[in-house]
Amino acid sequence: MSKLNKEIAIFIVFLLLIIVFWGIFIKTPDDTKTSVDTKTSVDTKTPDDSETPVQEARVAGLFIEFEYGITEQEIKVILENYSMPRNYNIDYDSDIMPKRYYITVDQNKRKDIEDELRKKENWTDPVFPNFKKGNNYIITVTEQAIEDKSFLELMEKNNLQVKSSFLCYIHFGDGSNNWSDPKNWIMGKDAIRIKNDLETNEKVLLVIPDYIEG
């Protein structure tokens, strides 16, 4: 064996020794902290064959807010293009929740308009966050605002139009409220996937999963 190979072999043995010592002396994070006197007996060994369930919500339906002016036929076509894990019924133009009034603002004008709207306390509502849709921003305005003359003047000055969203409710399953039957609800993660997919459609403003509780 040449001198060079001997040196390399010694180097590898040295590295292997480091690995061995590392395994012996390095402790896990839990070991390094002070343990406390608990009121229960504790053994820290972990069950190794169990999968950990994460919190899973169930969703009975979806509220879908569409752009102003959409037709029922257009809604049908949009929904048919998305894969729904359950059969569903559609409640068009639902009155389950009050109408949302909104304006569509160009990205460049967004800050100016928001500043103007904030000048009056009741023109916007903090519980409705503004959100991006394509190159524009959707800003929700209140019913009080659209009845205010100075608000309407501001809209006219900026060539903006107040619209109301078209709310639909998708009810999964047979239309009953029997949530013990799995065909009447979908898993939360599926609802989020559908929401994310649908919200990429230019006609869809918001998708709100209707969670089951109790």
């Binding site: 590295l15 896990t28 390094t32 608990t38 069950p47 919190q55 919500a57 929740m97 009050p98």
Partner: protein, 402 residues
């Protein structure tokens, strides 16, 4: 030339070996810094208790109270240590508890402060889970037993047993309050279940959580310093006199904003009445005291089980319910600021975590970034609980509006 090729190969191999050594080492070092010791947690529990007594009249009863330095350690179902639960005692009675995160990755150090918690016997739950494990797996070997948060905020005992024949490990969960056996699977409509709070809290990454923990640590240190300057120490019971001194301390009070609405606590009467009891609390706040839980459930259109939010809205909006037609259901924009705005308008709202409805009746925040929501929780069944909780767990709200 041949020797050079051989040398290069060996060099690459050596580098790989070095990588094997150093990459895990770096990861281990990174992990190590996130756990919280019981001593640190005790300090945080004390400073936060002092802070709330000084700034929030909800804590008037906690004056002269002290914290038992020996916490109950609560684990996640995946075996990670989640919380140190400290009992708050006064005149030898437990009048509250404080859950402090055992891991900085979980966010603000103090997860919740609870008033008059329903007591449970941890030893009984442990005993029962061991007993069931032994009876179910006759040839099994008990590997561990510990108290866990199996379905936040529900607590129970978890025994891990190894079947000697198959080699498989099984978990037995027993609820701490009811001593009921909880199946080791996600909850369904008809059965309780288990889920990992730890993994849920980390699903959006750890950066914000670590920042939140650091902010709460800064506040804790600040309170400790102020308390020491006033001749006290954070672990001694806080007397009326010392609280007066802290309450008049402009540096504490000027940075804190708090508001509480007078929403009565109603306990849920059955395991699936959380949404109903939440609606009853809000109804009582608005002076409607005649709506029983069974009446509200009927208006919501319950069919013997849980309820969705559309059903809940029927009660909030309907003229035979709360008659608040402007009530709205939201799943986005669940910020602390929007909660503050709603409470400032004197409107309590339904605040839900996954599968469970509660009521938000107030808030406390400091200019340093500490934020807490005041929650009336209809669980546990028959007692309910009143708590101050760090935000970030909600999945929806119903704003109850005219």
């Amino acid at each position: 030339m041949k020797r050079n090729k051989c040398g290069t190969g060996i060099f690459v191999l050596a580098m790989l070996l070095a990588g094997m050594v150093f990459i895990p080492a770096a990861s281990a070092q990174e992990e190590k810094d996130y756990s919280v010791t019981a001593e640190e947690a005790f300090k945080h529990a004390n400073t936060h208790m002092i802070f709330f007594i000084a700034v929030d009249s909800d804590f008037a009863e906690w004056k002269e109270a002290s914290i038992d330095p020996k916490p109950l350690e609560l684990y996640d179902i995946n075996d990670k240590k989640l919380f140190y639960e400290f009992s708050v005692c006064k005149n030898n009675e437990v009048i509250g508890n404080i859950k402090v995160c055992a891991d900085k990755k979980l966010g603000q150090s103090v997860q919740s402060l609870e008033f008059n918690p329903k007591s449970f016997d941890a030893n009984e739950a442990i005993k029962k889970s061991i007993e069931i494990a032994k009876n179910t797996y006759l040839t099994g070997e008990i590997k561990s037993t510990k108290m866990v948060v199996y379905n936040y905020p529900d607590v129970g005992a978890m025994t891990v047993v190894k079947d000697k024949t198959t080699g498989n490990e099984h978990r037995i969960f027993v609820d701490a309050y009811t001593l009921e056996v909880i199946p080791d699977k996600p909850a369904t409509e008809t059965e309780n279940g288990v889920w990992s709070f730890y993994e849920d809290r980390l699903k959006n990454g750890i950066d914000k959580n670590l920042k939140d923990w650091q902010e709460s640590d800064n506040v804790s240190k600040f309170i400790e310093q102020e308390t020491t300057e006033k001749g006290s120490n954070t672990s001694a019971p806080i007397t009326e006199e010392k609280i007066s001194a802290l309450s008049s301390d402009a540096t504490i009070t000027s940075t804190t904003t708090t508001k509480t609405l007078n929403v009565p606590l109603c306990a849920q009467e059955t395991s699936y009445y959380c949404a109903v009891a939440s609606a009853q609390m809000i109804a009582k706040y608005y002076g409607i005291t005649t709506h029983s839980q069974s009446y509200i459930y009927q208006i919501m259109g319950g069919t013997g089980g849980t309820l969705n939010n559309t059903q809940q809205l029927v009660y909030y909006q309907g003229s035979n319910g709360l008659n608040k037609p402007g009530s709205i259901y939201v799943t986005s924009g669940l910020t602390f600021n929007s909660a503050v705005a709603e409470i400032n308008s004197n409107r309590p709202f339904k605040s839900a975590i996954t599968n469970h409805a509660r009521v938000c009746r107030g808030y406390t925040y400091t200019s340093d970034g500490i934020q807490y929501l005041k929650i009336n929780d209809p669980a546990p069944v028959g007692s309910g609980s009143n708590k101050i909780e760090s935000p970030g767990q909600e999945i929806n709200r119903i704003y109850v509006r005219s």
